[in-house]
């Protein structure tokens, strides 16, 4: 039966056995059933958590699988967020046009990633400097957007409004027979859940195939990978664009969800968040990243209700603890411990 799953299973993902996929089906069934028992506000909230996971998966692909530490996830998040605002406001988008506006916003961010990535990767900016340049880019964008308060800072009818943020963009609508369906509450939740499922399985398929083999080879030893005949810069650029585009998808969805975006999403605390989620979860595994990020977002929000400052301090402390004591990440660590104590979950070593 596992053979049917093909590249969804493989050496680059934790959890390849029957037990894992049964667990996966159970979690998916619970996620599908969840809106039935909760009020629409909670369901909308859950959709909000799911939105961020795309950015985390993108970072896991870049950092955990390919060894590229990008501090720029929130820059692409912001570009797509503002991009969605500018495009949808100017088109007065409704129905399927809102989805096209989202796709166009992600494409703009992907193009930006391609240009930035090209100069960095072909200019041999590597290691920690890659993180520094992407981090500086993020903060520069935040500062730039912050000074756009004046009325002259607008594209068409879309005003940037500096630190007050851009609002007034339409929510996403799904074209439907008769009239479009507004993506909010339960419908939004199901749409994002479906999208997340496609992205998660798609990434699993990607990392367990030939492409993924080259990515981990680059992470382990870039020169060795090149000496096997791989044009590693092309792979690094492709991964940077893909990973950044996933952050852009988060940004576009987030802006459409709240109909609002501010430069603060590209500020320092925000820019550090994807790093913390992914490091805490276990950067070298997609499943660990997905689960860990969701848990962290949930706890972060629960804490923020009491105090945002303390929540931030706790996040910082969590990063320190992870780096010092569980460098491979907590969720990855727990799954390894489970494997050792039960031997039930087939993982990397036990799978060819």
């Amino acid at each position: 039966m596992l053979q049917l799953l093909g590249n969804l299973n493989g050496p680059q993902t934790i959890g390849n056995g029957r037990a894992f996929w049964i667990g996966f089906a159970v979690v998916l069934a619970l996620a599908i059933a969840y809106p039935l028992g909760f009020d629409p506000y909670d369901v909308g909230n859950a959709a909000y958590f799911l939105i961020w996971i795309f950015a985390a998966l993108g970072l896991s692909l870049m950092w955990g699988y390919t060894g590229i530490l990008s501090f720029g996830q929130m820059a692409f998040f912001g570009i797509a967020g503002y991009g969605y605002g500018v495009i949808s406001i100017n088109l007065s988008a409704t129905g399927g046009m809102t989805l096209l506006a989202l796709a166009a916003a992600v494409a703009v961010a992907a193009l930006f990633a391609a240009v930035l990535g090209y100069f960095m990767i072909y200019g041999r900016v590597g290691g920690v400097f890659f993180g520094i340049v992407t981090f500086a880019t993020t903060l520069a964008l935040a500062a730039f957007m912050g000074q756009t308060a004046g009325p002259e800072w607008a594209i068409g009818r879309a005003r940037f409004n500096g630190y007050n943020g851009m609002g007034g963009m339409p929510p996403l609508e799904l074209p439907w027979f008769g009239e479009p369906v507004l993506l909010e509450g339960t419908v939004l939740y199901y749409s994002i859940l479906a999208l997340l499922l496609v992205v998660y399985l798609g990434l699993r398929w990607l990392v367990n195939g030939r492409f993924g083999n080259v990515l981990v080879a680059i992470r382990e030893d870039p020169l060795r990978a090149e000496l096997l005949g791989y044009d590693i810069r092309k792979y690094q650029l492709a991964v940077f664009v893909l990973g950044s585009s996933l952050a852009a998808l988060s940004g576009g969805l987030y802006t459409a969800w709240g109909q609002f975006i501010t430069p603060a999403v590209m500020g320092l605390p925000s820019a550090a968040m994807p790093i913390i989620w992914v490091a805490f979860s276990g950067r070298a595994d997609l499943t660990a990243t997905l689960v860990g990020t969701f848990v962290l977002l949930l706890s972060f929000q629960a804490l923020t209700v009491y105090s945002q400052q303390y929540a931030l301090i706790l996040m910082g402390a969590l990063l320190l603890i992870t780096v010092l004591f569980v460098p491979s990440g907590f969720v990855s660590g727990i799954s390894q411990w489970l494997r050792r104590s039960h031997g039930g979950i087939r993982t990397r070593e036990s799978l060819s």
Partner: protein, 240 residues
């Protein structure tokens, strides 16, 4: 015999330091060619210029008739070179089998990879360690695995920089046998080495590098008997 790799008028300097000066070297198709010389002679620099990790200050490198002087390493590999660097570099966190698969998928479709990986594991005597992380292998086994990864590409020219460094005499001897067997199957091999016993075992032609220049060149028997070579090099390492 036709030239597989041809180096002409090669210079390499780092700032004011001249490491290679006017080096000519021809590796003919089908031979095992050894590059020797005392420490600091410029062997590794010459090797790096040949594989493309260093750009020469002047001179040309031609491979199979084409000028590859400014070509990147991966482009040279795709033309038929295969390279093992001095420091063993395997993908340490990945299983031995996956190390080979990453190399094999470069030239084989998915269907052919398993059988070929199995064949290489047997050849390298690493069958029992196939699922172990490559970083857990002994030093000699890592060297073999890396040679295996280089072989996986089925190269026309195999370039090995000190392939027996850190190996026991027995492992060294078996590595020599492997290289001779590959050469018997038609592969051209260039080896950078220190170990004279090993060179006597495998070499057909030897180039001696000294202070960045070609000091002597010829069949291994002649080089071993050359008193000038013995003076600069063999005298110090005889019986090594």
């Amino acid at each position: 015999m036709t030239a597989m790799l041809e180096v002409r008028g090669l210079h390499k300097h780092f700032g004011g330091l001249n490491v290679l000066a006017d080096v000519d070297l021809v590796i003919d198709t089908g031979e095992i060619h050894c590059l020797i010389g005392p420490n600091g002679a410029g062997k590794s620099t010459l090797f790096k210029v040949m594989v493309g990790t260093y750009e020469p200050s002047a001179g040309t490198v031609r491979f199979l008739g084409a000028d590859v002087t400014l070509r990147k390493p991966f482009e040279r590999v795709r033309r038929g070179m295969s390279i093992k660097m001095q420091v063993p570099s395997v993908f340490r966190e990945l299983p031995v089998l996956q190390n080979l698969v990453i190399a094999l998928q470069q030239r084989l479709p998915k269907a052919g990879i398993d059988a070929e990986a199995e064949r290489l594991l047997t050849l390298l005597e690493l069958g029992a360690q196939a699922r172990q992380a490559a970083g857990k292998l002994s030093h000699g086994q890592q060297q073999w695995l890396e040679i295996g990864m280089a072989l996986a590409l089925q190269p026309k020219l195999l370039l090995l920089d000190e392939p027996t460094a850190g190996m026991s005499p027995e492992e060294t001897f078996r590595t020599g046998e492997l290289i001779q067997r590959l050469n018997g199957e038609g592969m051209t091999v260039l080896v950078v080495e220190h170990d004279m016993t090993f060179i006597r075992q495998i070499a057909q032609k030897v180039t001696v590098l000294h202070f960045g220049k070609v000091f002597a060149q010829g069949p291994v028997e002649a080089i071993v008997r050359d008193p000038r070579v013995a003076e600069i090099y063999l005298g110090k390492t005889h019986g090594h």
